[in-house]
Amino acid sequence: MRLSPLVLLPPLLAAPLAAQQKVERRFAVAQDVSIRITNTAGVIRVIGWERDSIVVIGALAPGASFFGGGKGAFAKLGVERMDETVAGPGSTLEIRVPRGARVSVRSVTAGIEATGLTGELQATSVSGSIKAGGGLKLLMAETMDGDLEVGGPIEITRITGGRGTVTLRDTRGDVLATTVGGPITATGARITRAHLETVSGAITYEGGVDGRGTLEAVTHAGDVTLRLPAAIPAEFELQTFEGTIETTLFPKGNVQHQPRDGSPWTFATAGGGAQVTVRSFKGAIRVLKQ
């Protein structure tokens, strides 16, 4: 359905609205539109749909104003408050966008949720949580204190966390996830290349690695647990300076290894193939049969 051009081209001017006011806007855009969305506090929900238009439905916090506009290949929208450094109630934005859009979302404390997208999503927050569904070509998400959750296969995933948890489900493709203190958990994984890195958080990986794929886990103090298929063809290099290493991959059952001076323990299973590398300063390493 095509909308009237007069409705489709709202000006890029802030429109102050009254307290708790509802907002509804529509823009006609290209299917691969680039969209920038900003909302410091509250919730930002982005939903991919089949239409070539953006529809925004929101509830604005007192003192907040909505801005937005765009057409064709670019659109920009969001919520502004007079003083962003003062905590206050948040605004809720629910935004429907073309599935193949390139979406950039920015918040301070607002939670970000995105589902139904097949293009690219870049989500940034200070302490808000970020949830993204599967199907994206590229996900770049970073938050300093919030939790990060990815709910399905994505071609390329780049995640940077802080102290919050990172949870990856049905992980596929090429994954780079780093945190400071937050744990990283990947389940149902079948990756081509993954680099998981924390300073003090634990890393847990459950799933397989493609034939010539690489899985790397690096921590300073966090423990690393890999649960892999019993017959995985892979070459392992496991290294910890002050922790212990344990594996149940061998037929003889649980084998424990106490490294001397942090020298790496290397071995291959099922003739080798994939590369699995774990490196930690003082975390314990466990490589277990699924």
């Binding site: 905590a87 920015r106 770049m140 780079l176 290349r193 300073h220 942090g262 300063f281």
Partner: protein, 213 residues
């Protein structure tokens, strides 16, 4: 330089054959395009062989004993070069370039604060000592920029930044102490580099956040 042009020049950049002007444009682009930084990181394993190519033909065998004894004397006098896998340094240098370019852009935009330290372009054979000096300079630049912008950040955000940095600094100090006890340990070197990388990346994010607020 566009993203497509950067992709075409990845190999030349990694092998150190990109002309200086193009290398500068390459690095400037990395400083403003997180997607290309991610691409460079993803390509690091493929680029590794280029970073470890020999730079010169080995000298005749009879020259070696004299050179070795000179190197041994020099090694006893100060810190030597530590073997670190090329891709670690490639990733570390890429981040350093991105961070440094980001700081440059930040300072130029603000029009004040003095020029940040100039970080040389990626050199595959760089030693850890050199790399740490560059990391430290970049870290100081970012910390300074962050300090100037602290009035724009909420107290909760500042607390989050402090807590994360404390965790990273503690890990960095612990890894460096271990490396001081065993300076030739390549794996410990990698852990020190990883901690620096984490610190610079976190500072970069915090600084970007403060400028956007």
């Amino acid at each position: 330089m566009t993203c497509a042009e950067l992709r075409e020049r990845l190999d030349a950049y990694a092998s150190g054959t990109l002309p200086d002007r193009e290398a500068a444009a390459f690095e400037a682009h990395l400083g403003r395009c997180a997607e290309c930084v991610a691409r460079l990181e993803a390509a690091a394993p493929r680029l590794e062989p280029m970073t470890t190519l020999p730079r010169a033909v080995a000298p005749a065998a009879d020259l070696w004993p004299a050179i070795r004894s000179r190197l041994a004397r020099r090694g006893a006098a100060g810190p030597g070069r530590i073997a670190v896998p090329g891709w670690w340094l490639a990733a570390a240098a890429a981040l350093l370039i991105a961070v440094s370019s980001g700081v440059t852009a930040l300072v130029l935009r603000r029009g004040g604060g003095g020029a940040p330290s100039v970080v040389p372009a990626f050199r595959p054979s760089v030693s850890l000592t050199t790399l740490e000096a560059q990391y430290s300079a970049a870290s100081d630049d970012l910390t300074g920029a962050l300090e100037k912008a602290r009035a724009r950040l909420a107290p909760e955000t500042l607390a989050i930044i402090r807590r994360n940095l404390a965790t990273i600094d503690s890990a960095l100090a612990e890894s460096r102490r271990a490396l001081a006890r065993d300076p030739a340990n390549a794996a410990l070197t990698q852990l020190v580099v990883a901690a620096w990388r984490q610190k610079l990346d976190f500072l970069r994010r915090a600084t970007a956040l403060s400028t956007a607020s």
